[in-house]
Every structure is written in C-alpha cells, then in structure tokens.
Amino acid sequence: MKVNLIVNNQKKIFECEPGDFLLDTLRTYNYLSVRRGCDTTNCGVCTILFDGKPVPSCSVLTAKANGHQITTVEGIQAEATKIGKHFGDEGADQCGYCNPSLALTVYAMKKELNNPNMEEIKEYLVSNLCRCTGYIAQERAIKSYLGDES
C-alpha cells in the first residue's frame, strides 16, 4: 500500500505493508537516525515527533500515519547542532545511540513547556532511557540548552 506522509516538512509517498511500523518504514527510506532499542516501547530510542509530539515509532503503524507530520532529527539539524554543543560542553554524549531521539524529545519539550524546572524536565524525558551516562550530564546540558537564547 501507499502512504502519504510529511516527513521533515517534505511530502513523501512510502510503499509499505499494512502491518508495518513507522520505525521500519523510516529506516527503509533511509531515515537512519531512527533506531530500534527494545521492541516494547520502553526505551525511547525510536522516538520521532508525530505532529510535533514525541512518540515511539515502533508502536505507530505506518498506515495510521497517513497525512501526518513526522519529524526526525534529520529535520531539525540546526537545533540538534545547538543541543549537541551543550552535550559536548557537559560531556553528556557517550555511545550516542539514543541521542538523536533524546535531542528530538528535548526539542519538543522546549516547545511544549515554558521554563521547566528539573523535576518537570525529568518527568518529560523519563521514557528516554540511557545506560551510559547516568543522566546527570545530560540534564546539565539540557538545562543550559533551554536557557540558550542564541
């Protein structure tokens, strides 16, 4: 079947099977920043923005996304560069497997929450698991990114 999506502000027509999930479809079409971590919607690695809201792409049927706006980190490169610099400043990047999805979620949070405190930041990002960093450096970086008006 054919599905019409708006990926990173571009109209796309993807060929897929009715049972395909967005994670696999996006990877098939070379959006390689979207990656699989756990199969059970627990880890956050496959997060994309669906009409601006972070969702695990492993649980969204591609067919159901017909007509919707999909954002991957490939679509927010300027903002990702900014986030990445704050991550670098704080030593917050280790393996980085989860970082594109975390950057997307941080980007969505910045749009959704006004001046969140640390508790609100943690709540918003709790589904983005990380096994490398122990989270603290990430949160320092995110806090300074949120305050970065450049």
Binding site: E17, L32, S33, R35, R36, G37, C38, D39, T40, N42, C43, V45, T72, V73, E74, Q77, A80, T81, I83, G84, K85, F87, G88, D89, E90, G91, A92, D93, Q94, C95, G96, Y97, C98, N99, P100, A103, K122, E123, L125, V126, N128, L129, C130, R131, C132, T133, G134, Y135, I136, A137, Q138, E139
Partner: protein, 772 residues
C-alpha cells in the same frame, strides 16, 4: 598540558547526535539476507528430529542451518586473547540445547517475514532432559550439562565437565584457619548476587558481504574485532586472511559485546552463498541468548584481633556460568584479585571455589566483572565486623586498607586466568578518597541515621579498586601518519564503544605532538587498516592503548625532528619544535605545514608513518570511595537515592568530562544492580525478566544527584599519568547501599538486588522477632 586533562568535546558526539549513519545497522548492504534463529523452548533438551522440508521449499528462503551443517569444532564465544582461559565448550549449533533461548537452528531468507514464516513451518522434536536450575546443586549432579567429547580447556583451568564444573581455583597466603582461631571477632556470612543484564541500548548487530577481492567483510558491533576475526576463522574454517572485521560506532557494550554472538551465522551465510546477510538481535534475544553477569554465592569469613585490626579473610565462592563457560575462570579470579588486596595488612587470606554449569542463560564479561560481586560481599562483611566490634566503619577502613607505596602478595599470585604480577601501589590516594567522600556526603551529620518521620535518612559507604589492563597479555598499538598541510591520522585497533576512547586517545597523541584535537583525525577499528589491539575490556584502553599511542606520538616527533634537521641543516638535538614551527639554533625555521607539504609533493618525498605497541608490565589499580545517602520510607520500603558521592583516584583524567561520565554511568549501573535489576526465572528455567517491561534499569527519575570528584594523582607508568576509569565506578554501589540500609534500619540484606519489597519483609521480620 593543553589538550590532556582538558574538557574537550568528544570527537564524534555531535555527528552522532545529529543522526549521521554510524552504527552497524546503518551500514548494511541493501538486499541483505535476513537471519533469524529458532530458539529452544526447553532449558535442556536433545534435538531428536528436525522437519524443515516445508521451510526449505518456501519461496525466499535461502538456507536453513542445523547442527548437521557445521563441523564439530568447539570454540568459546568469550572474545579473549589466545589461548583462551575459558572452556572451549560451544559449537555454532549443537544437537543439545542448554537453556531457554539457546540456538536450535537458523534460517536465512530475503526478508524478516519470510524468515518468520519459515521458522513457523519447521517442526522440531525434542527429547526433554532434566535441567540443572539451582547452581548450588550443580556439582556432581546426576544431570550433566556438557557430556560431549570434543570440548576441552586450552590450559589447566580446573575444567571438569563431568562434574558440571567449568573452572575452579584455590589459593592461600598464611594459615586462615589458624588466624581465625586466634581472632577476637569473627563474622561468617553468605551473600548472593544476581545475573545482571548489560542493557546496552544498541542490540547485538552484525552484517556481512563479500567484497570484490572475494573476501568476507563483517561489520559488527563488537568490543574485540581482532579476536572476532581469529575465532570466526577457526570455528567456520575460513582462512583468516580472507576475513576483514570492521567495527563501526558501537552503541554501548559494557562487556556484552566482547563476545561472539550473531557473527557466526551471518559469516557462514555470506561465505557460503556469496550474498550479503544481516542479523539484529531482538531485545528478548539480548536478554535470553547473549550473556549476563555471573550470579554468585560468596561465603565470607573475616577475623579481627582485639585491637580492631583485620587479620584474616576467607572467601569461598560458587559462581554460575550458565549453559556455557565464557569468562568462567577470569571473572572468578577477579573476585579475589581485584577485591582482596584492598585490605593488605592481614596475616592470611584464602580464596577458593568453583564455577559451575547450569541450564540458565550463559554468563560472561560485564563491566566490573567479579569485582562488583566480591566488593558487595567483602564490603558488606567489613561493616558487619565493625558493628560487631562497635567500631566506626570509616575509621576501620582508614586503618586497615591499602595505602600508597604498599603492596599485597595477592598481586603476584592471582591474575586473570593465570598467575599475577607483583607490583607496588605507586599511586594509591584511597586515604584522600575516603576523607573527601566522607565530607562531601556529610557523613558526620547523618551517620548512622536521621529520623525524618515517614522516612529514615541514612548513609553507607564502600571502597573499591580495579585494574588497568592485563599485564604481559593484552597488547594495544597505534599508527600515526603525517598528512600534507600538517595534520595527522591516528589509526587504532582500540574500540570506542561509547566510552570515548577515540577522543581520549586522540588527546594523548595531540598533546605529545603539541597540536590541536582537530588535527588528529582518529579512526577505529578495522582489522585490515588499523594495527592490532586486544579490544575494549579489562579497563585497558586508556592505559594500554593510551601508552601505545603515546609511544607512537613520541616516535612521530622524533621522525619529524630528523626531517626538520635535514631541511634546516642542523643537528636533531638543536631543533626546537612547538607543534607548529621547527627552529634551529641558528634561527632558521620551517613550519610543520611547509615541511609536510615538501615531504608530500616536492623534496625528499616520503610518507611519514610510525607504529608503536604497548603491553603492560603491571596493572596499576584505580581506587575509589563511594558514599550513598538514601531516604527510605518506613511504611513502604520505597527507596529515594538522594546523593551518591564518588571520589576517584584514576591518575590523571585525560578528559575530565568523559572520565566523570564513565564514573557516573557506572555508578548508576551499580545502583541498578544494587536496587532495581531483578532477575527472575520460571520454575522450568525460562527467563521471565526478558524485556524492558519487567527488567527495570534506573531511569532519570531514580537519579537525583551524583557528586563525582577526582583526587590529584599521577601514575608514572600511565600515559600522562593516567590509570583506567571505565570499570571502577560500578563496584561500590551494592555494598554502600546495603550498608546504608543497615545503618538506617538495622537490617542486613545479603541478596541482591535490595528492593523495597526485601526491605519491607526484613523490617516486618525484625518487628516479629522483636515481639517474640
């Protein structure tokens, strides 16, 4: 220093965060065959019959692989140097399956759906055997897990498969029984640790293709590309020169990717068919079918004299290696060799026990292996001894622990799988670590507890040591190449698995060559292109590979000075070089840019390239003190980790940001083992905690504050004074937390993880005993 010990951004973090293709599954060849494995539903069974006729006829199926397709070549998946200290006890496929999730057969097909359809069409008849599921009854059990005749040990490791023993070991110094009989205070306790899962975010992933020279090119998410090449060549009878292993970016390893897993099937399929193939483990497969930390029972006896001096340590350990013996002996020995020297003033030490086979998921390497289990037992028992004596546990440690310039006879006796290496602790800032940590946690204000009403606040602590590589065994090497316009390539076999070794090693080279990090282009690892390195394990990369890089950089500097002397018509020793300009005594000068351009294009042209290697002659331990502050709810047992203080002596921090990241990440993994990560098996031996739904790792809500500091320390034998920092952080949380729970409530929990439920049950039991 301008580059080393500076907070430099990682060389790759930005590109990876921006989503650049980097990981193994970003780099597979389109139209790769997909490989899926049929996994055993039984903990122990013999395959009687496989009916795969329908699957083989299914359009799109390329190959069905069963044990009959593979020659009887045993190997070990451990991913170690040669000869391996692990039992050689695994076949690519075997007639027997030894745990739920073990490999029965594999299918290669044009896509995942065809693979799954094919697997559903295959009927396997099993003779179900009685599994050994309780590791404490494994030895001399009537059910033998490895009856096959081809398996063996490469050198004596105490391998007795007929008794379900994968390895065994014993050592002693002095007469422990006699020392204990003379002690005023003795504690004798048993502790249990669980089969923690690595949960690296990137599942095990591998793909392969045949290149235009008809060679097998394997891309794999591995910590050990060179061992991988050797072991695949051996097990699949492929000439080693026909194999190239490329390690792309690895999405976390923690020891889990030291091993060989999907690589055998992918290599076999591609080599046999000539077609590209790939395999990505499901998360369930990562849990059930790779390997875990070794669960253990540790029986500890400590004795102290009437003055409170520790006199004797007796450690008996039973370790469960599961279905296969990866790292059976080495993990076991580290329980002793990287834990017991902490208390080096004793009269006698005994360390002995066995590593047994069971029909559980196999155990293998995992960050801090052996050390975290041993630390939990020893550092819990030390606190118990202190309470028995009425002595402050911090002061007790300050008196009895290892100090700078001291040693322990254990270093010479015990290594990892072999004899050890004698060494003095030329750097050991444990005293500073303890006193600073005590201050940072506010020990004197809280110890042992503060009653907050609904909750009790308490503190606990533990000390730890690790190593820096395996001396005389593990080798690292580095090649540095000068390019036109004066920038360099640093080619290393060392494997960055997310810990930041590409950055750290580039910093070492840049510092020595007095250049900036952007002119030191680092690449790891490719068995065709980069020089040998044993891989990322045993806390070896900064120390062993880092020393190789430093040597290569020195050699490059010498080479540059010779070339500059030739051009400037001067003696080498009269050339001054600041990283950019060479100046002779007679004030003639040439820039590195001009020299490199001359060498490339116009005069005495040649490629400057140097390679150096390093193998350690000792393994200087990093040390740390860990302190935890927790609030625990009296009614529910709910645990609130308020702060974890780590004060670490790892020598110079090559990159302070990345070093802090190593410690913080390891602390949180250690807290996971201490509190959250419960491993549950069903009665029939199926791993129940086989997904992130029911195996809980710490989330960011669980971690409020980590206070991590490094003390001033300079290890002469390390690159720019560095020791290792990759593993040390994981060791202290289980014991520190157990000690905090005791300090808060007077209950001693000796089985990990220490969950709210366990705390609550222990409190209720304490209450009952109190009433009786």
């Amino acid at each position: 220093m301008k580059v080393v010990n500076n907070k430099i951004h990682s060389v790759d973090g930005l590109g990876i965060l921006k989503g650049r293709p980097a990981f193994t599954d970003d780099l597979f060849e389109k139209n790769s065959l997909i490989i899926k494995v049929l996994r055993s539903p039984h903990a122990y069974a013999r395959i009687v019959k496989i009916d795969d006729a329908l699957a083989r006829e299914l359009p799109g199926v390329e190959m069905v692989m069963t044990y009959k397709d593979f020659p009887r070549i045993p190997y070990t998946r451990a991913g170690q140097g040669y000869p391996e200290p692990s039992p050689i006890d695994k076949f690519v496929l075997d007639e027997y399956v030894r745990h739920v999730g073990d490999e029965v057969l594999a299918v290669a097909a044009i896509d995942a759906k065809t693979c799954e359809k094919a697997l559903s069409l295959i009927k396997v008849e099993y003779e179900v055997l009685t599994p050994v599921l309780d590791f404490e009854t494994a030895i001399d059990n009537k059910d033998i897990i490895h009856p096959e005749k081809e398996i063996h040990e490469m050198f004596p490791i105490g391998f007795e498969p007929k008794r379900n023993i994968a390895a065994s070991y014993k050592m002693h110094i002095g007469d422990v029984e006699k020392s204990l009989s003379e002690c005023e205070y003795v504690v004798k306790e048993s502790f249990y640790t669980q089969a923690q899962a690595h949960v690296m975010m990137e599942p095990h992933t591998v793909n392969a293709r045949i290149d235009y020279q008809e060679r097998l090119v394997i891309y794999t998410s591995t910590q050990t590309p060179y061992h991988m090449r050797r072991i695949i060549a051996h097990a699949l009878e492929i000439p080693i020169q026909k194999i190239r292993v490329i390690k792309p970016r690895v999405g976390g390893g923690f020891g889990g990717k030291q091993a060989i897993h999907g690589e055998m099937f992918v290599s076999y399929v591609t080599y046999k068919t000539g077609k590209p193939a790939k395999m990505v483990y499901t998360r369930k497969e990562v849990f059930e079918s790779t390997y875990t930390r070794h669960p253990m029972r540790l029986d500890v006896t400590l004795g102290a004299d009437k003055n409170g001096a520790l006199k004797a340590i007796d450690f008996h350990v039973l370790s469960d290696t599961g279905a296969y013996g990866e790292h059976a002996l080495t993990v076991f020995m580290v329980v002793g060799s990287k834990v017991l020297p902490l208390y080096n003033k004793v009269d006698s030490v005994r360390f002995f026990g066995d590593v047994v086979y069971t029909n559980h998921t196999s155990a293998g390497a995992y960050r801090g292996y052996g050390a975290i289990q041993g630390n939990f037992a020893l550092e819990s028992a030390i606190d118990m001894l202190c309470h028995k004596m009425g002595v402050d546990p911090v002061e007790f440690r300050q008196i009895n622990m290892m100090k700078e310039n001291e040693t322990s006879p254990i270093f010479a006796i015990m290594g990892e799988g072999t004899e050890g290496t004698a060494m003095d602790m030329e750097t050991c800032k444990l005293e500073e670590c303890v006193s600073r940590g005590k201050k940072l946690i506010g020990w004197d204000d809280i110890y042992p507890r503060v009653d907050l009403g609904d909750k009790i606040k308490s503190v606990g602590m533990a000390i730890a040591m690790q190593g820096s590589g395996i001396p005389y065994i593990d080798m690292g090497s580095a090649t540095i190449k000068l390019n036109d316009n004066g920038f360099y390539n640093l080619l290393i076999g060392a494997t960055d698995i997310g810990q930041g070794s590409d950055t750290v090693l580039a910093q070492i080279a840049a510092e020595e060559l007095m250049t900036t990090i952007d002119k030191m282009i680092v690449y790891s690892s490719d068995t065709d292109l980069t020089p040998f390195d044993c891989g990322a394990y045993a806390s070896s990369t900064t120390y062993v590979s880092g020393n190789a890089v430093l040597r290569a950089a020195r050699k490059m500097k010498d080479t540059l000075l010779q070339e500059a002397a030739r051009v400037l018509e001067s003696k080498v020793e009269e050339i001054d070089f600041d990283g950019e300009v060479f100046t002779s005594k007679s004030n003639k000068s040439i820039t590195l840019i001009d020299l490199s351009n001359q060498l490339t294009y116009s005069e005495s042209q040649q490629q400057l390239s140097v390679t150096s290697s390093y193998v350690g002659h000792k393994s200087p331990p990093p040390f740390m003190a860990g302190f935890v502050e927790v609030d625990i709810d009296k009614e529910t047992g709910e645990i609130d980790i308020i702060n974890y203080v780590s004060v670490v002596d790892c020598g110079t921090t090559i990159n302070p940001l990345l070093a802090e990241g190593q410690v913080n990440g390891a602390i949180v993994q250690g807290l996971g083992m201490a509190i959250f990560e419960d491993v549950k098996y069903s009665e029939s031996g199926k791993l129940v905690s086989n997904s992130l739904i029911n195996y809980k790792i710490p989330t960011r809500l669980d971690i409020k504050k980590l206070t991590t500091e490094f003390v001033d320390s300079y290890e002469e034998s390390g690159p720019f004074g560095a020791k290792s920092v990759g593993e040390i952080g994981i060791d202290t949380p289980p014991a520190a937390f157990a000690n905090a729970v005791y300090n808060g409530f007077g209950i001693r929990i000796k089985t990990l993880p220490i969950t709210p439920e366990k705390i609550l049950f222990a409190l209720q039991e304490k209450e009952r005993n109190h009433h009786e």
